[in-house]
């Protein structure tokens, strides 16, 4: 697998890992119990997608998915600022969810045509799972589209969603990422690399 392809996969994997975390922050405190359960599945899918992508890159690099996911330093992550934001208002969360799914659909479509059959195959699998995410996002969009706070959130986050396609600026992170990384790796860092958990 070419280095460039690895970088692209890491971009998506890092996006999905961090977004998966942000989405799972609603587990237990979502606006409706039923929605709590549904949104948690979406978060799990995202982390699952990250894992599958890390595994592909890990094999090319002779490492493991967990080491890629957790043992890099914050500035080595390739996630976009959009997913790093802590958005604990439902309007903002759904706005990001809606915008992210639209942008993600475009890049998955490209990846499905990759020369590498493993990449193309995985992209197709992920895309099939994401179909459910898009239905969910659209359902909420339809419900919230007249709410001023939702409209405002969409406008505010749209430029950052567009930046998802901007590979050149990946690596520029928000201040939130370092704090998030510290806490995300605190248990793992408490023991030597390679310790089983």
């Amino acid at each position: 697998m070419k280095e460039q392809e690895q970088q692209l996969l890491l971009e998506i994997a890092d996006d999905e890992l961090i977004l998966g975390w942000r989405d799972s922050e609603w587990t237990g405190i979502a606006p409706l119990l039923e929605e709590d359960v549904a949104f948690s599945s979406i978060a799990q899918n995202e982390i699952g997608h990250a894992r599958a992508l890390y595994e592909l890159v890990a094999r090319a690099r002779g490492t493991t998915a967990d080491e890629l996911a957790f043992d890099r330093s914050p500035d080595e992550y390739r996630c976009a600022p959009l997913v790093e934001l802590r958005l604990m208002d439902w309007a903002e969360t759904i706005a990001r969810h809606y915008l992210y799914e639209k942008a993600d659909a475009k890049r998955l479509e490209q990846l499905k045509h990759s020369d590498d059959p493993e990449i193309a195959g995985l992209a197709a699998k992920i895309d099939r799972e994401e179909a459910y995410h898009r239905i969910h996002a659209q359902m909420w969009f339809d419900r919230l589209q007249d709410e001023p706070r939702f409209v405002e959130a969409l406008e505010r986050l749209r430029p950052q969603a567009e930046a998802l396609h901007d590979s050149a600026h990946r690596g520029e992170h928000t201040a939130e990422l370092t704090d998030l990384w510290e806490e995300m790796t605190v248990v793992r860092r408490s023991q030597p690399t390679g310790t089983k958990w």
Partner: protein, 96 residues
């Protein structure tokens, strides 16, 4: 709105009432039922229906014990015994 959820565990099995979800409309009910009753692949099919659409019936009347169309209306033991004795094929005591 409350939606009742019926689930089928495997093909060929009957759909059974599994529970209910609260949802704003059919779209949300679809998503929520799917999650609560299928996120582990534990169901092959779900039927989701608004509670209001369910017609509930739990009062059945049979004042005159209409057993002519039930199995318990046909105790045949005595008649069979008599018929066997008549044919000389009555079972010895202790046989069935």
């Amino acid at each position: 709105m409350i939606y009742e959820v019926f689930r089928q565990e495997r093909k060929g099995q009957p759909l059974q009432h599994a529970g209910s979800v609260e949802a704003a409309d059919d779209h949300f009910a679809d998503v929520y039922a799917r999650e609560q009753y299928g996120r582990r692949g534990e169901s092959t099919a779900l039927w989701v229906v608004a509670r209001d659409a369910v017609i509930e019936i739990d009062d059945f009347v049979d004042e005159l014990n209409r057993n002519y169309h039930r199995v318990d209306g046909y105790p045949l033991k005595e008649k069979l015994k008599e018929a066997r004795e008549r044919a000389g094929t009555a079972a010895a005591p202790g046989d069935r």
